[in-house]
Structures are given as structure tokens and as C-alpha cells.
């Protein structure tokens, strides 16, 4: 199996995934990997194709072309082996309303090998539904349904947990609890979590990395730095002698442009580089970022406003 940069094999690989419905291209040549053990965000405005991508990932929809692998198994040709690794909620967690929460879990447990009563009880406890689990689902609030949805998704300890807009309908406390829980799953149980959202603020708090998608196309995949100052950006230094500057900053310079050099640097490094240039007698006329911050990029995608 192909390895990436010495890291572990990606849990999900999308390769040139395209979905056309009629003449419309809803997902356009999407390619990205989800590394193991991360909380991976799938960020995009409403209608950008997040749910469609997730549906293809779990085999609910066919791809027009391309391939999706879950832990190396193709969802198209090895559906059962691939989907066994996955627990998911796609859009709303719809359950059988005329059954109790517990009966719903028994229903899903029966479809998976080796899930006994003990595991069901454990999961019920974990999502905090013990008091109401024997009530009919039709009496549940949206928040309780979300919890039951998470319970059915983690029943078989999947390697990959996929949650489509899981914070919809949750109050701030519920969102916080979910966020902590997902980070716990990723850190301590080694579960890879893929969450979609149209809210940047949520993704920033929850995720290690986000893929940004717009109109079915991948805009960027980038890590999220918890400490905003540490985010490395491409910085352009406008200088009088780019070649000299390049020599001074031996190895740091990304590329030379007419009238300047481009480096990758965080906040402090930018100041250091400036000091070195000035000390070497290079005249610095301006310093500005070339790459956009995550927020800039997302605001551009959403046309300035966050669609709420």
C-alpha cells in the first residue's frame, strides 16, 4: 500500500470523484485524503455538495466517475468490506419512531457481527441516553435524536465516523459536548472523524484539518492551527534586490519574483526575516501575505457572508 510522507495510510481516499445528475455536475473531480486519527472538517456553503459527497462515501449514491476507498477498500466494488469500517449520520438522524431508542439500537446491532447487549448498554451510557432509552423515539427531542444517531454510528467501533452537519439542532452546550466527544474519540480511540459544516467557526474549534468545497469543487485542504499566530502563510517581501535577499535568506526563500521574494513564515518568523534583510542592507519596501487565511478563503467562497 502506498504511503504518504511516511505517515499512515489515509482512512478515506477520494480520487477524481465526479457526480452528475442529468446535465448538472454536482461534484466535480474531487480528490483528497483523510489521514487517520484526525477530526477532519468538510466545509462549504449550503448546496456546495457536502451531503452528496458523504452519500457517495457510504454507498448511498453512485459516483458518475472516480473512486472512493475506505481503508483501502473500494466502496463501489467492495461495498460490504468498506462500509463495515464506517459509522455515519447522513443529514438528519432518522430512526424508527414507533420503536424505542433501545429497539432501534438492537435493530442496527443485529446487522453487525459481535455486538451484544453489553456494548449497546455501554454506548447508551456514553451518549447519555440511559434515562430515556426505553421510550419511543417519537417522544425524543432533536437533541436526543442526535445522541441516538451518534449511538448507532459508534456501535461497532468504526474506524471512520462520518457526521453530516451534526450540530444542526443542538444547543450551544450540546455542540460543546459533541465537540469534546469527537476530539476524545479521535485522540483516545483512534477513530477518524469526518464532520461537515457550513460554519467556519465550528470547524475551527473542532477540526485538525479542513477541506473547503464550493460548487462541488475542492478549493483547498489545510490544517487548522489552534494558535492563529502560528499559522504559516506565504509572505511577499518587496525588496530592491531580490537576488541578494535570496542569498541572505539561504534556503528559506520559496521563489523569487520581480520586485520581491516569497517565503513561508509565521508571525514571528516574518519579523525575524525582515530584521535579517535590513541588517544585510536590503531595502524592504513592503511586506504582505500572498496566501489567504482560512477565514479570507472561506469568506471569498461564501461571497462575504456566512450562510446561516
Amino acid at each position: 500500500m502506498e504511503r504518504h510522507g511516511g505517515g499512515a495510510e489515509p482512512v478515506v481516499r477520494l480520487v477524481n470523484v465526479t457526480k452528475r445528475i442529468g446535465k448538472r455536475t454536482i461534484i466535480d473531480n474531487l480528490t483528497f485524503d483523510v489521514p487517520p486519527g484526525e477530526v477532519f472538517g468538510f466545509l462549504g456553503p449550503n448546496g456546495s455538495g457536502k451531503t452528496t459527497t458523504i452519500r457517495m462515501m457510504v454507498g448511498l449514491m453512485r459516483m458518475t466517475s472516480g473512486e472512493i476507498y475506505i481503508k483501502g477498500r473500494s466502496i463501489r466494488t467492495e461495498f460490504e468490506a468498506a462500509v463495515r469500517q464506517v459509522g455515519a449520520i447522513v443529514e438528519n438522524p432518522e430512526m424508527y419512531k414507533f420503536l424505542t431508542g433501545y429497539q432501534n439500537l438492537v435493530h442496527y446491532a443485529r446487522m453487525l457481527p459481535g455486538i451484544g447487549k453489553r456494548r449497546i448498554d455501554e454506548v447508551v451510557e456514553l451518549v447519555g441516553l440511559s434515562d430515556r432509552i426505553h421510550d419511543k423515539v417519537k417522544t425524543y427531542s432533536l437533541g436526543m435524536r442526535q445522541r441516538l444517531g451518534v449511538a448507532q454510528a459508534i456501535l461497532h467501533r468504526p474506524a471512520l465516523l462520518v457526521l453530516d452537519e451534526p450540530t444542526n439542532g443542538l444547543d450551544p452546550a450540546g455542540i460543546r459536548e459533541l465537540r469534546d466527544y469527537l476530539r476524545h474519540l479521535a485522540k483516545h480511540e483512534g477513530t477518524t472523524v469526518l464532520v461537515s459544516s457550513h460554519l467556519l467557526s465550528e470547524m475551527e474549534l473542532m477540526c485538525d484539518r479542513v477541506a473547503i468545497i464550493q460548487q462541488g469543487r475542492l478549493v483547498d485542504v489545510r490544517p487548522i492551527r489552534r494558535d492563529a499566530g502560528a499559522e504559516k502563510l506565504e509572505i511577499l517581501f518587496e525588496v530592491d534586490r531580490p537576488d541578494t535577499a535570496s542569498e541572505v535568506l539561504d534556503g528559506v526563500v520559496l521563489r523569487t519574483e520581480s520586485g520581491g521574494i516569497v517565503v513561508t513564515a509565521g508571525r514571528e518568523e516574518t519579523a525575524d526575516i525582515n530584521a535579517r534583510l535590513v541588517a544585510a542592507g536590503v531595502r524592504v519596501y513592503g511586506i504582505r501575505t500572498v496566501t489567504k487565511s482560512l477565514e479570507d478563503q472561506f469568506l471569498e467562497v461564501t461571497g462575504g457572508g456566512r450562510i446561516g
Binding site: 452519500r55 457510504v58 454507498g59 448511498l60 449514491m61 453512485r62 461495498f79 460490504e80 468490506a81 462500509v83 463495515r84 464506517v86 455515519a88 449520520i89 447522513v90 443529514e91 438528519n92 438522524p93 432518522e94 430512526m95 424508527y96 419512531k97 414507533f98 420503536l99 429497539q103 438492537v106 435493530h107 442496527y108 443485529r110 446487522m111 453487525l112 457481527p113 459481535g114 448507532q152
Partner: protein
């Protein structure tokens, strides 16, 4: 690998944990009970077999309707409630999931028909005793043999109609359409077949509606348009296979966007 029977158990759970199912079965039990008991008091010359046939005719019609409701809900209900998504993302092929639904439906029909068959025989034997069958059973048949054959043919018809509803449910994901069309076929087949037989074309003989009401073949000399029981069963079998093929083909290929 978890057992396939678990899938059937799940489908059974979704049928029998609903109040609706028990209301329907209660109707199937209470109606004949009431008919026989009233008959016991008001009928001057009661006869066990005439009550068996009277109740069976009514009950199989009701059970057909209930079976159609079950079949219609089986696939379409999962789509309209959105539960289909969580059902299909399990390590089971769509083929097997659909098969489990279909088997649970057949079990429901067979179970109800068997219980009702036993009930009506027992109930009317207790109330009216064995005795002469009078004119309720065609000559040349033992009463029990006739009733058994009658139930067998009705089971076949019920399976065909329920499979049609199941197919519409799977293809159009609409329970209402499945119920409407199938009940129309059930209740309207008599009128439609009379109308169709006015048209003197050979293809008429292959129309589904011309082959409901199989029990008429049990009465010798009442051959409809010169068909034999074997021919009617053959045509029904053809439609049955077509319904199943359509259900499976569409269910397997469908993009689930519910």
C-alpha cells in the same frame, strides 16, 4: 458475519411492533367470530361449511388489502421516513436487505392466512358441528379438500398482488401509489376482465386482471374464456417474476437521496 436471519428478524420487528398490525389482525379475528355467533342464534338451518366459505371470502379480501398496505410500506416507508439511509449503510448488500423485507412480508401473509384458516374451521365446527355441506361446496369435493384448495389458490393470488404492491413501493418509493394501484387491481379486476373480454384480441389472455379469481377453476365446467388453471397460473407466474425482477433491479441501482 452476522446471520441473514437477523435481517428478517429486524423486518418482523418493524411489522409486529406497530399497533396498526395488531389492529388489522384483530379485525381478521373478531369479524368471523361475530358473524358465526350471530349466525348461531338467527340461522334456522346453519351449516358449518357455508359459514366457513362466507367468512373466508370476506377475510381473504381484507387480508389482501392489509398485505398490500404492508407491502406498500415496506420499502416506500423507509424512504419517506428517511430511515433507508441508516439501513443501507450496513455491511449487507441491497439484494439481501430487500430479500429480508420480502420474506418478512410473505411470512406475514402466510401466518395470517394459516391462523385464519384454522380459526374459521375450528370456530364453525364448534358452533355448528360437522354435518352435511349442503350447496356451499361444489359436488365432487370433500369439504375439507375444497376449502384447503381454495385457500391455496387465494394464497397464490395474495402473493401476486402483494408482490405487485412491493414492486410499486420499491420502484416509485410511494406507498400511496402502491396501495392505490394494488387495491384497484384487487377490487377492479372483475370489472376490468369483463370489459376486456369484450375486446376480441389474443393479447387479452395475457393481461394480469384476467387471471384473478382462481377459485372459479375449482368449480368444474366454469372455465373462463377457455383458460385452464395451469394457463392462469403460468401467466400469474410470469407477472410475479417480472414484479420481483423490477423490484430488485430498481432497488439495487437507486441513488438514495431521501
Amino acid at each position: 458475519m452476522a446471520d441473514f436471519l437477523n435481517l428478517v428478524r429486524n423486518e418482523n420487528m418493524k411489522i409486529y411492533y406497530r399497533v396498526r398490525t395488531w389492529v388489522m389482525s384483530a379485525i381478521l379475528l373478531v369479524l368471523p367470530l361475530a358473524m358465526s355467533i350471530i349466525g348461531r342464534f338467527v340461522d334456522d338451518s346453519p351449516n358449518m361449511w357455508s359459514y366457513v366459505m362466507l367468512e373466508s371470502g370476506l377475510m381473504t379480501m381484507l387480508l389482501s388489502i392489509f398485505a398490500v398496505v404492508m407491502a406498500a410500506d415496506s420499502v416506500a416507508g423507509e424512504f419517506s421516513n428517511g430511515t433507508i439511509k441508516l439501513l443501507l449503510i450496513r455491511p449487507w448488500s441491497r439484494n439481501k436487505i430487500l430479500l429480508s423485507k420480502y420474506l418478512a412480508l410473505l411470512c406475514y401473509i402466510v401466518l395470517n392466512l394459516a391462523v385464519f384458516f384454522a380459526l374459521t374451521l375450528l370456530l364453525n365446527f364448534v358452533l355448528f358441528g360437522g354435518g352435511d355441506s349442503g350447496s356451499s361446496i361444489p359436488s365432487g369435493w370433500s369439504p375439507f379438500g375444497y376449502v384447503t384448495a381454495w385457500y391455496g389458490l387465494n394464497l397464490i393470488e395474495m402473493a401476486v398482488v402483494a408482490t405487485m404492491a412491493f414492486m410499486i413501493s420499491s420502484v416509485f418509493r410511494s406507498g400511496g401509489l402502491a396501495i392505490g394501484l394494488s387495491i384497484f387491481a384487487l377490487l377492479g379486476s372483475g370489472i376490468i376482465s369483463s370489459l376486456l373480454s369484450l375486446i376480441d384480441k389474443p393479447w387479452i389472455d395475457y393481461v394480469l386482471f384476467m387471471h384473478f379469481g382462481l377459485e372459479r377453476y375449482l368449480n368444474a365446467g366454469e372455465l373462463f374464456r377457455g383458460h385452464s388453471l395451469g394457463f392462469s397460473l403460468g401467466v400469474l407466474a410470469g407477472y410475479y417474476v417480472l414484479f420481483l425482477a423490477l423490484s430488485w433491479y430498481v432497488f439495487n441501482r437507486r441513488d438514495v437521496a431521501a
